[in-house]
Symmetry: C4
Subunit: 197 residues, 4 copies
């Protein structure tokens, strides 16, 4: 099975997730800056979730550049990941509407954690297909991927102390992923050079 249609479907789902979250932003009832400020928590959670979906899309994109064919395991591993990502609009809206209350922030963190575990399982499934060993080589020690679940757990724990501490950790993890990661690009460049020699 070629990866092209799997990528196209995932792109579609991710594009919709990232965009429909804006439908959850409530339009202010009064035409004043004061009323707009009431949407500020909605705006911040929207921004955070937008960045997370962007990170997943970008990493997903890299991951499937290495392999050319996938099997049923990868296909369902991918749908598993999309399932947890598709709950972002729901958990994001709850965090927003409760103005960063403890339980919604914890549930948001659990959502991030389950998406990270789904992503990790998908990587393991890809390692097993033809060409998948290349991805393992490209990722190297994969420090960020291994650290993320523990950082989410830390954020969930801190949210019990104070919700804003949890949100802070989740934001820092997003920033950590935003720092450019050229592992897969470097691997592909190296492979291309090797092919030319």
């Amino acid at each position: 099975m070629r990866t092209s249609r799997l990528e196209a479907f995932s792109d579609g789902v991710l594009a919709i997730i990232i965009t429909i979250m804006v439908l959850e932003l409530r339009v202010p009832e009064e035409p004043t800056l004061h009323a707009l400020a009431g949407s500020a928590t909605g705006f911040l959670t929207y921004l955070l979730s937008f960045v997370y979906v962007g990170i997943y899309w970008s990493n997903h994109h890299h991951m499937f550049q290495v392999v050319e064919r996938v099997n049923g395991g990868v296909l369902w591993g991918n749908l598993h990941l999309l399932f947890w990502l598709s709950l972002f609009p729901f958990t994001t809206a709850w965090v927003d509407e409760s103005s960063f209350a403890r339980t919604p922030v914890v549930v948001y963190g659990v959502n991030l954690l389950l998406a990270a575990i789904a992503y990790y399982s998908l990587q393991l499934a890809i390692f097993r297909v033809r060409g998948g060993a290349g991805l393992r080589e490209a990722l190297g020690r994969d420090g960020k991927g291994k650290a993320s679940p523990f950082l989410y757990l830390t954020g969930i724990g801190l949210a019990f102390v104070a919700p804003w501490l949890g949100v802070l950790v989740f934001s820092l993890v997003a920033i950590m992923w935003l720092v450019p990661d050229r592992r897969v690009e470097r691997y592909l460049d190296a492979r291309e050079e090797a092919a030319q020699v």
Copy 2:
């Protein structure tokens, strides 16, 4: 007519169906785990419908790998299938909001049944196009495809006894389809090998 644009359009529609169902999940009004538990039926019906759309996407993907060109009959057979699938967000939301009442569960089963019949008709339409005989060969006896409508009918009947029995049957059919099905992959591998000899 090439299949590529038909596949792209179907991917788009399926990606939207699978994602907008999350908009029907009502955000809990209180920031408590107790309030979240009130969304549990919504979460379960969302999961079931997500898996069903995933199964249809996966099977759709396989089906169109065998043929390269389609005619108007296949095009409208495909839109017919998409029509019944597009009603999933509606019937899913009704099952959820009524907390698994009898009539909504029966209607959900009828929706599953009509989608299965539309899928079966689409297969028949594909058998008739150039290269379509290959799909018939690849599917073999097609036990799952033939059993599904009868299982849905059983589920609909049992829902009259107790709604949860119907939901149980619909869940078991989904699990049956999740078990990997390598018929089309095997057929394509065999054809590839034959071509190399």
Copy 3:
């Protein structure tokens, strides 16, 4: 400018239009067949608009198979068509919520008329690009395309007498378009054969 990305964008917009209309279907408040019957007008208007968007997608697909490159005029002619099609969810919902009242049915007919005019203008724009003469040849007299605006006008006029008469005409036009139309396919087949000679 190649047509591939224009087709991909149009597929995306049409896929969303055809799918979000289901969000306008109101979930019945009671879990009874009687309450579901109250959604019947919504279901019928949804079906009619689904078929119309399907017809436009199918014709759009054929139209762009003939040409390979487009200019700015075609690009904006295409966006013009998508604009009127994007209002279908709005006018469809109004017809539904008013239970087929006169004004909403007339406005729905005007929407169909404006979409047909936009489609016709897009065809004229395509005739002028390189390869576009082939489309003119393929369409021949284009009886359906020329008759449709007058049929919509008739439907709008009859809706002033009785709304259901207007809806009847709009449904008959949809059925007329559903009858397979092999003009473009025949043209492409003929061109292919000529190329092989």
Copy 4:
């Protein structure tokens, strides 16, 4: 990294933004032309935002035809642009629901301004990748691109005097961009001719 998947994802997001804005149009409660007239401001703001998203899609399309590969900077520059565009449904709905009140019109202008700045930054990021110098050459002095932010600022300023003056300026900028712009097409044609010599 090839541009194809970045273009596909952007097409998806832009297709959704342009289409979901119609969900913000409120269906009139009475089946009369008078009630429909109450939706007129919604219709006008929808049209303006539709044209703006269309312009961004068209320019985006041209921009990525010149380069073939992008890096992480371009990828995040693109997501940055999509973020501001994804807020259009929100700011458009606010302008509509407040019937062109001052603050919402100013905020809409700020949204246009931030999208324009994001677009400009994305151009700068593309100039730096391989083949990106071609885009700089193709754009030439880029009068429209440089004038737009100042025109938005003027519109924002005038909105403080009278909101409709701001809307007028934003509409004029849209019309300015609608006037065909053949710079990139001319550059590509010239390059093609040069390659044939």
